[in-house]
């Protein structure tokens, strides 16, 4: 990205983008890093300061009760709200494997009876 976030330490993210089954594309983001910060913090920062169109699921915001913010970080399925950022390498973020992808990091995780049809 063109503009560095303010503050000294940063973390680097590579985030899978695109709707439906479009070919894989990754956007690189540089985000502020503070001790204890999470992947969810970084995604919310990107939404507010770099790209408001980044689609992701989250609800309870770090209480880890809603279980909505599941995604894959470096190929491992985790919760964004409990996964700490690291500053020494680029973290690669993908939507959940094996699910229908709707957009960016959002998959169809709704129970089938809760969808409009």
């Amino acid at each position: 990205m063109t503009q560095k976030p303010t503050g000294q330490k940063t973390a680097q993210l590579s985030v899978r983008r695109g709707a439906g089954d479009e070919p894989a594309r990754y956007d690189a983001f540089c985000v502020p890093f503070e001790d204890g910060a999470t992947v969810l913090d970084a995604l919310l920062w990107i939404r507010a300061h770099r790209d408001p169109s980044l689609a992701m699921r989250y609800s309870c915001i770090s209480a880890n009760v809603c279980k909505e913010c599941t995604l894959a970080v470096d190929g491992t399925v985790v919760y964004a709200c409990t996964t700490r950022l690291v500053s020494d390498r680029t973290m690669v973020l993908d939507p959940l494997p094996g699910k229908i992808r709707l957009r960016d990091l959002v998959c169809e995780t709704r129970p089938s009876r809760e969808r409009l049809r």
Binding site: L44, S53, I61, A63, E68, R110, P111, L116
Partner: protein, 554 residues
Amino acid sequence: MHLVTDVLIIGAGGAGMYAAIAAARAGAAQVLLIDKSLVGRGGATIMAQMTVAAALAEESDDDWRWHLDDTLVAGRGLCDPALAAVLCEEAPLRIREMGEWQVGWARRDSGRVAQVTAPGHSRPRCCYVDFLNTGPAVAATLRRQVSRIDAIRRVSNLTVTDLVINNGAVVGAVALDNASGEPVTIAATATIIATGGLTRIYRRNSASANMGGDGYALALQAGAPLVDMEFVQFFPIGHLAPRLVGMDPIMWDPFRYKLGGRLLNGAGEEFLARYGSEETDAYTTPRDIASYAITKEVAAGRGSPHGGVYLSFEHLPAAALEAAFGPVIERLARNGIDLARAPVEVSPIAHYHMGGIVVDQRMASGVPGLYAAGEAVGGANGANRLSGNAIPEALVFGERAGRFAAGAAPAAGWRDSSAVEAVERIRELGEGRSGTVAAAALLDELRAVMADDVGPLRTAAGLERALDRLGDLRAALGDVAIAPGRACNPALADWFELRASLVAAEAVTRAALARRESRGAHQREDFPDSIPELAKSQRVVMNNCGRIAASPGQ
């Protein structure tokens, strides 16, 4: 897409799910339960840590009238006594019913339901499932019940943007289907707002993402008045530092029930006594007083490094901590917290909204066809909610709203022309548009405005400044950029959230400016005393030009 239902329920937390169950039980053939988040996984219910107040009389002699007495005292003279009475009288019915549905209330060895004494209660009255797990258990139990009822249709990720009015009555809603980005119209005989509160409009909050105050904006725009909007409950000891993840920031509450703990200012001094609390080892200070005391200590330069105060358990033996909280101690250790060796920092965090939609005992608003339930309702808790009253409020008011809405006679029929403007707005914004600012950034700014000037300590100058800044944000709605692509477009959803949250924020701020005294959760630095003649509720209304005004109550 056009849907038709008997009862439309907007919001699927505890109140919405109970309303759906009750509406079906009362004979509604079609119940539509929708949420902008996921059904039964967003909202406040699932976030509840522990206490649920009900006069079950399992641990000691109790009576719902005593629960009512405590509720009215906590409400600082402003509770609607009829609504508070409904809440206290029917809480045991709902809590017992949840028990029959296997929610798993904690029991003593004797088999009795365990009840603890929470701050403000005159006796042990608060039951729980597990000390950090009550909300998730309540939500899971209601999800299970809802899923067993064929009459209830559930839809997740459907955001109501506007209510549809015909001849002065609410006849349904227009919604944004987040997955497709397309508008959906919903014709309903009765509509229940169960969207929860507005604490998400504060920088530090314990809210789910879907609690930006949508329901208040919908009600005002339909012509329904709000009441007690100036009273936002700040949970006094929200976690502040060190950074804690995977646990709700209000999780220190159960620790204090079990072990007491000491609140200390930055100099390590106990300070609650300076603010009229007699708290010693037990956890007894009401939330409004504790939040005020902490905020004042910080303002006086006696705060902790991150701008709060210390909560210390260092005086307790490590074995006592381990015995009380075994596995949780490990979760804390993973966050670098060792309670035996160092205190944590805490500070007030927006937690619950006392204000809300004016309803009668059937949960009907003054607008035909429109009902409300749960935290979205105003009045039962006055100027300060008693600990443990939020979950019973969700269940009791939800049950009533569902039952009475199911029996409602049609007020007016659906009319496409009344929905056109809202439908077209969704279509037009979904085309995408260029702009200079992101709604997500403006939402952050809104949270800063509310935290800075409409928080636990208020002044006329600060509230006027907040109104100016809210006006600027409202003007900026027209400058928001929306990237093209309708499906799952967060910029589109954010625009609607910002629009609704600005209405809710203005309602709080105007009511706070109009109340020229201090009472409960509303503390004015420029009017520090409670004035007996002002012990009455204010209402907030919106006129047909969208102007929001507060007026003294009756």
